[in-house]
Symmetry: C2
Subunit: 276 residues, 2 copies
């Protein structure tokens, strides 16, 4: 297949490198900065430097730029894509982008399938990209209105790239689950280290402190954007968590051993049933 990757940052660059290393597909790169394209070509990450015209031979286009740019790029270049071409994106929040790309692609005869490769680093440039980035990671697929065969193509490409598993979901389930699995731990870590005790922790702490506080070393500009772009699901999950913490706190304040033990047992059983 001809694969076009638009945007050779950490994710686009890693996809290009993994495609070139692990598959026989022909990889074409499109990027704002010419220098990155030349580096990627020299690295063997891409086989060809592409432009608007390359979209006409693409079987699958991976859009790996920012959400706003993705929407305007697909909208403006829709006529250049081959009919029936699969367009996917790699944005970490899906409700808005899936809605807008589904609309554009339906009108222009393209197959839109949303994607979210669950991998990344705190660095974003091509220099940080790595063909092994996706090892052991999950590839989330949001089919939207695409044909089953397009979804299957995206799924088998993910397995070829080295992902450990794929997961099919809807935009709203995706965003609620990401609020829970990724955003809540970041909010928590930040709230936790705000305690006046934190600066005094050395000698009193071990693995538990380290695990909860790890991601407080946050890129505040990026995460402010991520949190605000998923406001409702994140706020709902925060309410759930604050309520659950308050329930436990109330049992502690009331010195209510029975209730506390029952609550903790509920949690242990959740973990046990998950085999964790």
């Amino acid at each position: 297949m001809n694969i076009v990757i638009v945007g050779l940052g950490i994710i686009g660059g890693s996809l290009a490198k993994a495609f070139s290393k692990y598959t026989d597909h022909h990889v074409i790169g499109i990027n704002r900065t010419q220098k990155t394209l030349e580096t990627a070509l020299r690295d063997g990450a891409i086989h060809e430097i592409g432009d608007q015209e390359s979209l006409g031979k693409a079987d699958v286009v991976y859009m790996c730029t920012y959400p706003e740019h993705i929407v305007s790029y697909v909208f403006e270049n829709a006529a250049h894509f081959k009919k029936g071409c699969i367009v996917t994106d790699v944005c970490g929040i899906k409700t808005e982008i899936c809605g807008r790309l589904t609309e554009i692609c339906e009108k222009t005869g393209l197959q839109y399938v949303g994607s979210h490769p669950m991998a990344g680093k705190e660095k974003f440039s091509y220099e940080a990209s790595d063909p092994e980035l996706f090892k052991n990671a999950s590839y989330i697929i949001v089919p939207c209105q695409a044909k089953e065969e397009s979804v299957e193509t995206i799924k088998s490409l993910a397995m070829e790239l080295g992902f450990a598993m794929t997961r099919i979901t809807t935009p709203s389930e995706h965003d609620r689950m990401i609020a829970f699995t990724s955003q809540i731990p970041h909010v928590l870590a930040c709230a936790y280290v705000m305690s006046p005790c934190c600066t005094n922790h050395k000698g009193f702490s071990a693995g538990s402190y380290r695990d909860v506080s790890r991601v407080a070393n946050i890129n505040e500009v990026l995460w402010t954007d991520l949190f605000l772009s998923n406001r409702e699901p994140l706020s709902e999950e925060l309410s759930v968590l604050i309520n659950n913490m308050t329930t436990i706190k109330n049992a502690i304040d009331a010195n209510d051993s029975d209730t506390l033990q029952k609550l903790l047992k509920t949690s242990r059983l959740v973990k046990e049933r998950l085999g964790e």
Copy 2:
């Protein structure tokens, strides 16, 4: 020195094994179950099976049983200890035990120094004990009214046993810090996995979920006791955390990018200043 260890569970057994492996001190074990003493003797963890009379030759006694038992044992056997003998305990919460042992030891001419070796496992028996348990761990010392030389003795013994560092503190600072570093992460983990999202997390989660939820696999009987024995400091730290989470949530709900970014930056700076 003659070292008596009362209670050969996970901590007492590990202390005995580390003393025998890494030091030349003479180790005497006292334990309710005779069979454990015989196993420990055969293992080389202790050099001698002791009884009440052995307390008379002890330079340091490590009390490694439950808090209630420790207090009654020292109270009932006070006359058997050598004058000036150092008595220490290894309980994880200090305010109450330190108050009671300081009182008993002052009246009977013993030197009480509180200890908290920051190491453990979810298993409690002698079988789980390990001479390497204390590698990289911190040994917290609560001097109370003991002489400086007794504190120094406990400190240098900790270093001989392989602890990475010691930390001197008061009972109340200790209990507040343990609420923060150890108990809060356990409350958090339990509250977190109570979300209806949790059972559905596979394919949506990576390191952040794993880190926060890890300790939800909790021994609910043990932790109910630990939480209730440190009720006030834990409740205060829970209030601090819930307030900080609510502050972040309010900024998210208000779509207030500036405030949110400032809050997250505060957290990043705490971590950076700690060099983490």
